[in-house]
Amino acid sequence: MHRHRHVWKQMRDREAGKVRPHSFANRIKSNRISQLQLSNHKDIVSPHKGAINSLQIDSTEGRYLLSAASDASVAVYDVQRPTAISKHTSLFVLDKHHHQGHKYAVSSAIWYPIDTGLFVTGSYDHHINVWDTNTTQVVVNFKMPGKVHRTAMSNLSTSHMLIAAGTEDVQVRLCDIASGAFAHTLSGHRDGVMTVEWSNSSEWVLVTGGCDGAIRFWDIRRAGCFLVLDQSRTQLGRRPPVLKRSMITKDSSTKLRAAQKKHAIGSGSRQLPIGRVPSKGPMKQRLHPGMLSTQDRATAHYGAVTGLKATGDGMYLLSAGSDSRLRLWDVQSGCDTLVNFETVRLQTNKPLQFATTQDATLVFVPCMRSVKAFDMWSGNMNSILRGHYECVNSCWFNQQDQELYTGGNDRQILVWSPARSIADEMDEGPAEDQDNWSS
């Protein structure tokens, strides 16, 4: 009741012009997001017989949900229009019986960012398939050197159509849909690559997290990675405070500059910044100057990096590791912001897919059987969403409807939606749920 009155007041303010349209919309949205609960009116009927590994809703219409599962199947659902009363069955399923289907678990499935005519699946059978959605046929096929853990395409790109693929192999490969060949191989990781993520601020920047605990930033126009995140380099807060800023930035920027200069010039005589492992002797000299950073053994997590998520503005990067830590990185400075997320335990053996809200205030993280919503900047837990009976692998937040989709090892895809208004509930439902005390 109280909440409703609040909404009405805001509406009046908006009518009077006291509140700007954008902030009004944002308030309504954040209000709705704070009420997320297991939806009773939207059931996604999962056709999968294995764990759900990946979920994505297309960015063009916000309507089609793509899910990939361990039983080598991929399915697409219409989340706007139910097929039966409050039931969303899959529009189509591609499984082992499809003659071009994957043989083993599909670890990732993503939409082509421009439209819903294509989608890309990566599987443990070492293949990445690009499918035509309308004909459900494979149009391009890439053979990878190992199990594919994660694939990613850039939302911003206007000049390339590259699929970044993290596999068991130490090299990250960029697959070009246009040519059907590998455009790049990025080497630097010392172990398999669990997760890849394109930057949200530059179409050329790719972030990868490996089983060696390193998070590397790559500019795909250049050789080698340009930034390796180091968990020992920290800063307190989102940005260095203004007063101290000059000092710190000077310090860090000189270091950075020094590093960059060193990279550019390639002379090893200068002092290397602390935390960068100095390379020794002849080995270093043989390397191409751009490849120097491969010698950087800094780690972002103890153990493997299992999840990466860049914020919408591309300024921050959230990472999860098998050390059950979530870290929020300032991309610009490359420092850990020391936000303490109250995770208890994270799943360690699978890539995790987490989701952020559009304004990056909340992040939804799969923590074993539950999904926790954290405040991005304080790390406080906002709410805990319980519904899965086994570990949750992936989340996807639908910005348009403020709905959260989660998939887990229990083969369910759950929809978490804001509480519906009473009027909505009155419309349907066979009998109202009421107290039933014996008189």
Binding site: L38, N40, D410, Q412, D433, D435, W437
Partner: protein, 628 residues
């Protein structure tokens, strides 16, 4: 502040109620407590929240009984309160993992018997909740689906079962209706032929009867005339005459009307076995069939009923005419069997297999026996009661006979083929008797072994039948209806299940002695009381007691510790009787445990190891004798 405090106090009230309700070993929640909980929770949401919290805490207890009772309360509240449902459903996976125990790292706690009940009950409840409230709570649907489709738990499926049974019944009814309808249709088609067949048979019977009667009348005319001449004045005589007349009207079979009788009998048989049965069937079909248009059915039903009545009357007529011959042989048989029963009862045979043989035994003597029974000769019956019962065998063929047997006249004509045959050779009677001596196998007398009848902890009496010693309850002794030993004083009956040992019995005796003496002391004390002051008396009492106890204990050899042990046991068993939650967890020592204790003791293991090693050594030495 104040409201909070009040809330808290009330909350503790609910909590204490719940705590009390779950702190028993009973298989059900005390209905009064449950009612109280419901009443308290009903009018206040905050108390309901407290109750939810308390119940969830109880579900985490490391005791299946507590969890079980808590689950029962949860179910009660779940079916009633919406708020409770929303609260519970939030944490449904936890509740399910605690009640069903489907997570491998969180198995259900002891005791296992209650744990299995808890699991089945939880599954049943989940199904019920899902059926009733699944529409409103996605979590319920999810939990149900997970347990059913992922973990493959067997749900009782109550609703589906009921539906299935109803469906089956409907199916059956539909089928029987269809059958009835098809029968009815066939009847519609050939009802005339059926009727025709029956009517023709009846006509034939009528004709036969007429023929018979016609003959009879012609024959009996003269007799009747004669009889009419006489005077019958008295009523009795008239009665007699009437009966005689009636008797005379009956037609008897003789050589002249045999043919007619035969046909009549055949027709009668046809009537009984075929037509009467079929007409009954048709009537039942007509009664049961459901039709839109009932006119034809009603008319034909009427006709059929008429026909049935006629059939019955004809049947009666036939029977009067003496057609009830069909059953005669059966009657004889039945009589025979009845006799047999009587015999077997009289001679009180124990083995039912021998019934026939016994019948054979008695068949000769029994005919007379029957007569005698009618006469009710007391001496005879007494003799019969005394008479020995013998098994049937071939020697009974020659029972009491003194005949001699011709040795060579057995129907085989040998005729001096192998030399001279003495046709007159006889086997003397005594030889025959010798050959036919009746063999009597020794039959052990069956003694009924008495059941142990010791009271069991779960109620009831021990029904084991052992000869002397029950392995669980010691020597078998006479006990009363409640299992208390008859010759023991009631205070010590608890010891009975322990006191198998002679030493212990001795010890018990010693304790008894002590108690007797104590009683004596008490008596003495009474006398002292009158003479001495209280303080003094107490001192003396103590002193006396001490002295006497010492004396008593010293008098029996090992009783000092044993007696105490027994008393401790006494207390223990008394506590067992009043079961607590902790006692449910105490593990029962099974024979397996005892064997394990013997076999897995370190000494046994060391010996076994040593033996094993030495045997291996020996094998090795045998295999490689020349190696060092």
């Amino acid at each position: 502040m104040d409201t909070e405090e009040v809330g808290h106090r009330k909350g503790t009230k609910v909590e204490s109620l719940i705590e009390k309700a779950t702190n028993t070993t009973a298989p059900e929640v005390d209905p009064r407590l449950l009612k109280a909980i419901k009443a308290v929770v009903r009018y206040s949401d905050s108390e309901l929240r407290f109750a939810t919290q308390a119940l969830m805490d109880l579900m985490k207890r490391d005791h299946s009984q507590v969890r079980y009772l808590a689950l029962l309360i949860i179910d009660e509240l779940f079916m009633r309160s919406k708020l409770f449902r929303t609260l519970v459903v939030e944490n449904l996976d936890q509740l399910l993992s605690l009640s069903v125990g489907f997570r491998r790292n969180l198995p259900l706690p002891d005791p296992p018997a209650v744990a299995s009940v808890l699991r089945s009950k939880a599954i049943e409840f989940l199904e019920k909740w899902n059926v009733t409230f699944g529409v409103h709570y996605r979590q319920l649907r999810l939990g149900y689906d997970y347990l059913k489709n992922t973990l493959r738990f067997q749900f009782p499926n109550i609703q589906a079962n009921v539906e299935r049974i109803q469906q089956e019944r409907r199916e059956r009814e539909r089928r029987s209706r269809a059958i009835l309808l098809s029968k009815y249709e066939s009847l519609q088609e050939n009802s005339s032929s059926i009727k025709g067949g029956i009517l023709s048979t009846m006509d034939e019977i009528d004709e036969c009867l007429e023929i018979l009667h016609a003959k009879q009348e012609s024959m009996s005319d003269d007799i009747l005339d004669n009889e009419e001449l006489g005077d019958f004045r008295s009523l009795e005589l008239q009665q007699l005459r009437f009966e005689a007349l009636k008797e005379g009207e009956k037609v008897y079979e003789n050589s002249e009307n045999t043919v007619v009788f035969d046909t009549l009998r055949e027709l009668y048989k046809l009537l009984i076995t075929k037509h009467l049965v079929s007409i009954q069937e048709w009537i039942s079909v007509l009664v049961r069939v459901e039709l839109v248009d009932n006119r034809f059915r009603d008319s034909i039903l009427k006709e059929f009923i008429d026909i049935r009545n006629r059939l019955k009357s004809v049947k009666n007529k036939c029977e009067e005419a003496g057609c009830s011959l069909l059953n005669s042989s059966k009657h004889e048989e039945e009589d025979f069997w009845e006799e047999g029963n009587v015999v077997s009862m009289e001679i009180s045979c124990s083995a039912p297999d021998n019934k026939n043989e016994h019948l054979d035994v008695a068949s000769t003597s029994h005919k007379m026996n029957n007569d005698n029974l009618v006469e009710s000769n007391p001496q005879r019956s007494k003799l019969i009661a005394e008479a020995p019962v013998v098994r049937w065998s071939s020697y009974l063929d020659n029972w009491g006979s003194n005949r001699v047997f011709m040795a060579n006249q057995r129907g085989l004509e040998l005729d001096s083929h192998w030399g001279r045959v003495d046709d007159d050779a006889v086997i003397p009677a005594e030889k025959i008797a010798e050959l036919n001596v009746h063999a009597m196998p020794y039959e052990e007398k069956e003694i009924e072994i008495q059941p142990c009848l010791a009271p069991l902890r779960k109620g009831g009496l021990c029904q084991r039948r052992d000869l002397k010693v029950c392995p669980f309850h010691g020597p078998i002794i006479p006990r009363d209806d409640e299992g208390r030993p008859l010759n023991q004083s009631s205070s010590e009956d608890m010891n009975m299940d322990l006191g198998t040992d002679l030493v212990e019995q001795l010890a018990k005796q010693a304790v008894k002695n002590v108690r007797e003496r104590d009683q004596e002391v008490a008596k003495k004390r009474e006398i002292d009381k009158q003479t001495l002051k209280r303080a003094k008396l107490a001192k003396i009492r103590e002193h006396n007691e001490a002295v006497l106890r010492d004396a008593a204990l010293a008098s029996t050899s090992r009783s000092a510790t044993l007696g105490e042990d027994l008393e401790v046991e006494d207390k223990l068993s008394a506590r067992d009787k009043k079961q607590s939650l902790a006692s449910m967890l105490r593990k029962k020592v099974t024979p397996k445990d005892r064997i394990a204790q013997k076999l897995l003791s370190s000494r046994a293991r060391v010996t076994a190891d040593r033996q094993h090693v030495s045997r291996e050594d020996a094998n090795y030495r045998e295999a490689f004798p020349s190696q060092w």
